[in-house]
Symmetry: C2
């Protein structure tokens, strides 16, 4: 009986797994040096947890299931609700600020397409307990610390930044009631992905008043923070959030990543929980969807039954980023090559037992060592050693009767005789 894989899910054969590991190891290393600690939650949570505040698109894409008691569960489509739950559970004992990261496996029941799969890995970095825009700057820096590290320059990618707080203040001053902001965000979030006409059509459905609509269209066309002030008189809240945006760009300059960052009022974000700075990271050259994005979500912990604590963070998935890094040739260039330290070969079936003994001793000493199960003829074994990119080959032959091994350097071809006791005494202890 032949059973196919489920569509939109990935099999990671060793070559694919090497790429996934390389990417995730990089995320982890960069997170740690930026002072973040790793956490993780369960693969599924109660269904209702994702229905609270994740936004319509994500809720539609949930894989839901039931446990034996009939309780409704869902495979996590994002980790932020889990983060909020976990923080709330231990809020009194966690020293603040809380700087955490995670690399969750997530599932969304999307229609599979290029860069959009039903299962993916997402790098999440969050700072809980700091309301200063410095925390937003630090998370953006952390994302760019990684992206820069793997070779993406300001010519390749851009971080587009705006502020939901500013947008809310301006939309309110235009006359949009607070209760209508959330559905309007969902509309504005689609603007860059739709033709102008289609966008105007859905906007008209959301905002009936033509005058208001025109003001919104003008607002969404501004290209700099300065333009906003000249376009309309700003309320106190709007001015504060404009100033905050200004300070964010200043901080990003000080951090040395300013040339990756631009203001873009079109960045609204689909998720319902954002409250302040919002941003998305894009590939400059292509038609790809956002590489990642994030922002401030100061109300989420409270909405999950916790105290009123500010929070900010981002998520970067592995699919779009993987495509981009492949396209730029950056994976091939940086993927570590696996090279076993030793291949143990024998010239004689009688010595096979010795080969096994030596191979396992090498492994116990922390070295990667391989062998040929069949101990076929020597040239076949050497071919195998070379196919496996072994650095050295130990040949156990008649010299073994004098307690000697032949050690062959596979790069230079150089061979030398080594006393077996001396060989093991001199093995460098491998770092763990």
């Amino acid at each position: 009986m032949k059973i196919p894989p489920v569509k939109g899910m990935r099999d990671f054969y060793p070559a694919d797994m090497a790429v996934r590991n390389w990417m995730i190891d990089g995320w982890k290393r960069i997170s740690l040096r930026n002072g973040f600690e790793e956490y993780d939650g369960p693969i599924f949570e109660y269904l209702k947890m994702f229905q609270i505040k994740s936004g319509g698109e994500i809720v539609e894409q949930l894989f839901s299931l039931k446990d034996r008691g009939g309780r409704e569960l869902a495979i996590r489509p994002e980790i932020t609700p889990t983060l909020a739950r976990m923080i709330n559970q231990q809020i009194s004992s966690l020293p603040r600020p809380i700087k955490w990261f995670s690399v969750p496996r997530l599932c969304r029941a999307e229609r599979p397409q290029r860069g959009r799969l039903r299962e993916f890995f997402q790098w999440n970095v969050d700072i809980i307990g700091v309301d200063d825009v410095l925390a937003d700057a630090e998370t953006i820096f952390c994302a760019l610390d990684y992206l820069q590290e793997v070779g993406l320059t300001p010519n390749d990618i851009v971080v587009k930044i705006s502020s939901r707080k500013m947008l809310a203040a301006i939309l309110e001053s235009i006359g949009i009631p607070q209760g209508e902001l959330e559905p309007l965000y969902a509309v504005l979030d689609k603007r860059s992905r739709l033709p102008q006409e289609a966008f105007e059509e859905i906007l008209a459905k959301q905002v009936g008043d033509e005058n208001k609509r025109n003001k919104i269209m003008k607002l969404m066309a501004v290209e700099s923070i300065e333009q906003i002030s000249s376009l309309l008189e700003l309320s106190k809240t709007a001015q504060e959030s404009v100033d905050e945006l200004g300070r964010l760009f200043e901080l990003l300059d000080i951090m040395g990543v300013g040339d990756y960052c631009v203001f873009d009022i079109g960045i609204v974000r689909g998720l319902a929980y954002y409250t302040g700075i919002v941003y998305e990271i894009y590939d400059k050259g292509s038609e790809l969807r956002a590489i990642g994005g994030g922002g401030r979500y100061d109300d989420l912990l409270k909405q999950f039954g916790g105290p009123d604590i500010p929070a900010t963070g981002f998520g970067i998935g592995d699919c779009i980023l993987g495509i981009l890094l492949e396209e730029k040739g950056l994976v091939k260039k940086q993927l570590p090559i696996r090279q076993p330290d030793y291949f143990v070969a024998t010239t004689d079936k009688q010595l096979f037992q010795k080969a096994i003994e030596i191979m396992t001793k090498l492994r116990r000493a922390g070295l990667a060592a391989n062998f040929d199960y069949k101990s076929t003829n020597l040239s076949k074994q050497l071919k195998q050693a070379s196919a496996q990119k072994a650095q050295k080959c130990i040949i156990i032959g008649e010299e073994f009767n004098n307690n000697q091994l032949v050690v062959k350097d596979m790069a230079t071809g150089e061979q030398k005789l080594v006393d077996i006791n001396k060989f093991f005494a001199e093995l460098k202890p491998q770092s763990k």
Copy 2:
């Protein structure tokens, strides 16, 4: 709205995550040095895939779900069926032997109890394409290479080994029809976990004939391979598998792990797909369930629609092993301590900007660097540095006007003035 976590699922707070990472990193390192390559599959597969050959207990414990097209899926309760599917898909292009490992996240709808959770991680190591018992020995060695590495001695753990092929041959010679072997295995597998009476009861249900039953009871009471031959006359197949078991123990001796291994005819394994050598690893001292187990499953790939290829491997979960390592004090002893390289402090709010600049430069250079968001007074910052176990503290004070930094060694308390340009010029490049 406060939503609880799902019962039997784990939250990994940073302290828990550190333990999980330490364990999994060890599994990966040991697998690689034993010549295995990492793979992974999707978190769910078609439901029917797990119904083919996994055995009743696992099928009952499936978390099943449906996709939007109504197709029946299940979260993977084990990875071997996925492995069989993946190998079959690329069988013609994969060089053999295939030596693969994986650390899948798995879910089973069990009643949560100590060491038995609904979600866990399992180290899986498999060799496909070698029918020689040497491959069984190598996988057992690999498991012990790890267990020995983390400090478990033959006084702590034991690998109990038997052979399903031998058991099948003997049971057939006792007069059990081949078609009744599989349900009988399930009964025999429960023997060590049941009181003698309860076991005899379920055995009587499975085997009606008292004479056969008595022979089975006698067989299950043998304590050595030699005893079997004296108990009854062995068929050719039975003799072959007895010899094979003998050779396995010889190989394990050569590999230096013989003192961890014993013959135990009670090891049958619950899964339906085993065909040859089977084994389970136990804690000697406690009442814990098996740490892990495995064996040969030569027919599985064929049953999954592939060619006839021999295979052998094991799985070790993180729950029981974690409890054992904690009990023995081996986690605390070995868990790596995180120490940021630098904490950047300022004596003056005016210099805060410089602190951010220097901190981000350190991170870009590959060093872990932290700071205080509020740049409160110096002694508070130094306290924070020490709470975070920072190795060094950079203090930016009035010396900064002469381009100098104060670098304080947090262990010795020693402070020195360093020219800022010299400091960055001399930073050691960090290995990735």
